[in-house]
Symmetry: C2
Subunit: 351 residues, 2 copies
């Protein structure tokens, strides 16, 4: 299957220097990466090479016009050393949706999927097995073509690299509901995993961190009255026993965790609603006690329970429940992801 | 003055290979560039080095999170070989405003200004003297620090490179007033020269080009009822004899050409208004003949007259006037820029 991809192996692996019991998130990198160039109007042969610096012209458009997109996925290994991915085709499809919006050539599904599998075979020793750890995989594409004219580049790089990682958040997550800044415009690129969407969040997030929060919950840029999503997670709100999440739109990322959680919740007897969630409603529910839970859902963050939120200079705490939906759903989804349970959906892809 | 900056000269200049009579825009690069690194919490010594590829880790945040900003300036040379810039401090200030919003460390004014001057001294032969040509200068800053955590990097690069350039637009500019897509959100980064703002425009611009237009005129993302700016130009509309431009906001770039033109127009007896411009008003004015001119204003585009616009599947042509404001103002501003007239404002900076 993967024999057609050329592999240049590292001379000596760095793996012995890695402390797998104390993994940070996304800052220790595996030995190899997959690279594939788009030049002369077509994708060239992908290759697996040692993880090593990239050389680019100073006029490459990535530096000037932010023409870049990415994905985030995880690989898991079970106790029998089986390696598995979770809904990887969804990431490939979303990458290509992002590509279309950013006028980046779409990556053929076979380069993505075969490349990913070949890379995981070469670096399978890098997949952690400790609870809560996994191999975070980062496929990305960017404009390597040059020029100061503000127009799409004529050359691109597709790269997949990976990082054995621990949890994204250390501890409880306290969020601030944003009233001034915004993440995405109507008719903009919010639904794409475009690089520029993330840098745009750093400043308001820093302001929130300075006030003692971990994350911003974005609201619509027009009225700031509706809860949309967080920096790298979709948001779920539980009012009484109903689990609610915003509909996706051109401002909101269509999260794979989000849609998986919706499915699992329904199949496990949890009422779900996909509808606009107003800030007023959440504040009222917090006040009258019907707001039971809030949590973020995303590949990096898995399911991250929110302990409280700030809004309009007030802080609201969430109750500590016995057996919250967040914990139930996290167990259900991670059991599927890590081969600890049946997978009635066919989401798990074994290598 | 510039003696403190280390200079590594090219072994042999590429200049003989350049056809200065047929310069493209921004795709032929001068021999040298200025580089300065931010590491360990501070800016290091700037250096002038040969224009050559940059080497970056695949996990550098520029590739993933679009943490990048830039500026665009021009250097001119008069018939006596004097070299000059136009309001360069404004670019430095705006770069730092962009830096603040993108959580990039601000560049000290002396590194920017002294570096720029030193670079222009070394590459002064690259400044074209032909009418309509100039040395386009591109200062930019981006995240070279690494990591997949969506947070600001801990290392950055500041680079200035340059490209002897001809006109940005070849021929007349026909624009499409956008009704669906948007460039910037309220509370977003539209006022910053952030890389991601430009890639976000490529797709709608491509759709407009496919329909026979050159550029999109952006409208507010909420109602699409107000004209904001174009891809790399602010927009002026002349109704009867009044020149109107939108106020700047957090969605609109505060263009240096725009504010210079407003000043020059006022001082030359042209009535100006800074106020919201509704699409309906422009369409009505086009129909009743009171819409006399539209033009874009920006460093790259200088003043680019608009020959017509599309809106809601209708095309509207603009009249061809004898002595349009666009031509008058273009002459006034370029004469100041190129030392062909007095500069009552102190905008010209001679090297
Ligand atoms: C903005 C944003 N929202 C939501 C998510 C969650 O998406 P997924 O569950 O596919 O990882 C992510 C990223 O992963 C994201 O970047
Ligand atoms: C979005 C945008 N608007 C307007 C302008 C014009 O600004 P300036 O006159 O300072 O060049 C530019 C760029 O140069 C721009 O990128």
């Amino acid at each position: 299957m993967t024999s057609s991809i050329e592999i240049q192996r590292v001379k000596s692996s760095k793996i012995a220097s890695v402390d797998f019991d104390n993994l940070p998130f996304g800052s220790v990198y595996s030995d190899h990466m997959l690279t594939c160039d788009f030049v002369n109007g077509k994708w060239q042969e992908p290759k697996i090479v040692p993880f090593a610096p990239i050389t680019l012209d100073p006029s490459a458009k990535i530096f000037h016009y932010g023409q870049s997109i990415f994905e985030g996925m995880k690989a898991y290994k079970d106790t029998d050393e089986n390696v598995m991915l979770f809904r990887p085709l969804e990431n490939c499809k979303r990458l290509n949706k992002s590509a279309e919006r950013l006028v980046i050539p779409q990556i053929p599904e076979d380069i993505f999927m075969d490349g990913l599998k070949a890379l995981l075979e070469v670096d399978s020793d890098w997949i952690p097995t400790n609870d809560g750890s996994s191999l975070y995989i980062r496929p990305f594409m960017f404009a390597s073509g040059t020029g100061f004219h503000a127009s799409p580049a004529d050359a691109y790089k597709f790269i997949i690299c990976s990082a054995p990682s621990g949890p994204y958040f250390a501890g409880k997550v306290k969020v601030l509901i944003e009233e001034k800044y915004a993440r995405a415009a109507n008719g903009g690129v919010g639904y794409a995993k475009a690089g520029g969407n993330y840098a745009a969040q750093f400043y308001p997030t820093q302001l929130a961190i300075d006030k003692g929060y971990n994350q911003v919950i974005w609201t619509d840029d027009n009225s700031h009255q509706f809860i949309e999503e967080a920096g790298a997670m979709n948001i779920f709100v539980r009012i009484n026993d109903t689990l609610i999440t915003s509909p996706t739109s051109d401002r909101i990322l269509d999260g794979i965790t989000r849609k998986s959680i919706l499915q699992i919740a329904e199949d496990n007897g949890i009422d779900t609603e996909i509808r606009k969630i107003s800030v007023g409603e959440v504040v009222e529910a917090a006040k009258d006690g019907s707001l039971k839970e809030m949590f973020g859902a995303g590949t990096a963050a898995v399911i991250s329970p929110i302990s409280g939120f700030g809004y309009n200079d007030n802080d609201f705490d969430l109750p500590e429940l016995e057996n919250p939906y967040a914990a139930q759903l996290k167990k259900l989804i991670t059991d599927i992801q890590t081969n600890k349970s049946e997978d009635p959906y066919g989401w798990r892809v074994m290598l």
